[in-house]
Amino acid sequence: MNNEQQYIDIFEQHRELIEKPCATLLNEERRKAYSRFKEQGFPALNDEEYRHSDVSKQFAADYGMNLGRVENLTAPYESFTCDVPNLKAHQEFIINDSYLKGIDHKTALPQGVMVGSLNEIAKSNPQLIEPYYNSLAQDGDSIAQFNTTFVQDGIVIYVPKGVIVEDTIQFVTIQSTNIDIMSNRRILVILEERASLNMLVCDHTLSNHKTLSTQITEVFVGDGASMNLYDLEETSESNTRIAQLFVRQQGNSRFNHSNITLTNGFTYNRTQLSMQGEGAESDISGLVINDKHQHTDNRTLVEHKVPRCNSNELYKYILDEESVGVFAGKMLIQPDAQHTNSQQTNRNLCLTKCARMYAQPQLEIYADDVKCSHGSTVGQLDENALFYMQQRGIPIDEARHLLMFAFAGEVIDKIAIEGIRNRLHMLVEKRFRGELSRCNGCSLCHEREQKKTN
């Protein structure tokens, strides 16, 4: 209890240090957020949203915070080029919580597209950021307030009206440290009318120290705009990830999201999607592969505010050993949202008796002419299918992998970009064979790394 007090003390004592390097906009929001955080504290276990995930406890450890913005002594990205084969990507890096400057981008982005440090752009173009920054997260819970209180930098992506960004923006976050450290990051994505963007966010740790990150992503998808956002977590068992994604969709826009938890420690992901313009479509999905004592909690809220929007949701978990999975998905259909078409599916595999899954699908419908459905199942691998494969000579372990791979494949196949999809199929297969846990870093490029050292 009272894990918040040490952070309140840190903020009071180091307020000037925190605010000094930061843009006015960040500091204005910071002050508002701090007073909310101070009032609310960390979520308690009797908070419905956190009852299976003791997030407060995660903050109890004495983490270092880079409030003085010490430059990274080593830039691991040089030995860590996160290239995905067959993917044309524009890469950006955040090491712990600092935007890495001076990356040599091989290709130029289209005219008018802006990608860079949140703090820098908030200083140089405050009028661009101001209407958006924290406008969704300000109504978030105390974790969102905590992030806004301590955040000093992050990344902004701005795509002007009608511009289609062909290359995938790949945003790599790396926790690289020789002490226990906390990082508070921010991602802001603004797509104006009819803009189009593909984005891949890879979350990594390159350290066996305790690491904790909070990450708030705010995404604004303008009228007729289109975005694919792929989140991939490949961190370590000593990592805590608390990530919140807020999305606002305008009319006839399209937003696809896949959130893949491949390796992790303790993860709490919240996705909050608000469909505010008619004809918007969204497809959100998630895949969790957990074993050992890994813990993954995914919470989604899909809010239909206006008529004629479609949303589709699919979350799948594969839980081995003593891992814990939580899925709470809520579909909220407001009174005006007639002719809504909304589906939610949650399927879970518990491979051992000790693995635990908490599933909580929720439907709240206040409109009367809608088509909504949800379904959730928890089960084991199909014994009949396993035996059928064994009879054909497939060894039992291989048969299990084939079934697990097939189960996971449904989520991966939703990824629209072939290079990322193929890479993920391969990573998931490696994960099942236990080959990923040996890799302490980015396995998207792991093979390449091995080639280099050989």
Binding site: Y388, I396, L402, E410
Partner: protein
Amino acid sequence: MENLIEIKNLHATIDGKEILKGINLTVKPGEVHAIMGPNGSGKSTLSNVLVGHPAYTVTEGEVIYKGKNLLELSAEDRSHEGVFLSFQYPVEIAGVSMTNFMRAAINAKREYLGQEPMSAGDFLKLMREKRALVNLDSKLANRSVNEGFSGGEKKRNEIFQMAMLEPTLSILDETDSGLDIDALRIVAEGVNKLKGPETSTLVITHYQRLLDYIKPDIVHVLYNGRIVKTAGPELALELEERGYDWIKNETL
């Protein structure tokens, strides 16, 4: 000639209930044996026990196959040694393509036999060849295993897999159930084409119908967990005509 398989005094249970109560059966290479019998007599249990289904427990007896103790082998090793079961109810496996499934099966067997994995080109050629044998649509071969297949397609797919794996002992568990006359003929012709002087077949069926196409050398009647009658192909015809009651009465 040496026996391919010799089943001696085989007893087996499921959930503590004894189903097989002392089966004795010997099959020589090249022979086709039919096993007939009323519902609940233990026909499917026998086929499941032979391929090592984990739900069944063997409580007594032994099975010698190619000179080896079959019951000591894992289910997959029995397959590698050439035992194949055409399932009465083939299982649908969502998300696993027929191609990946078959490739895993073929290469597991090759590994067991100390051979290199088959090249992609050779594998696809083999798939094409064997598919033609049972008129299996190439579209089905690209789909998930048995998913969305009709009853007839599932049975044809079983024989296709049999053709791919080239077993020594094939057990056809009610392969005729759910088949119309045309499908029955295609399936039976497929089985006949695969027959060689060294391969044997156990045909489990309720009806004479299938035996018009797959000619048995020997017909057994299984009743209440035991083989109660063994004779030539004429026995199947007699059963078709008279039913099983006279045999039940004989055994009492």
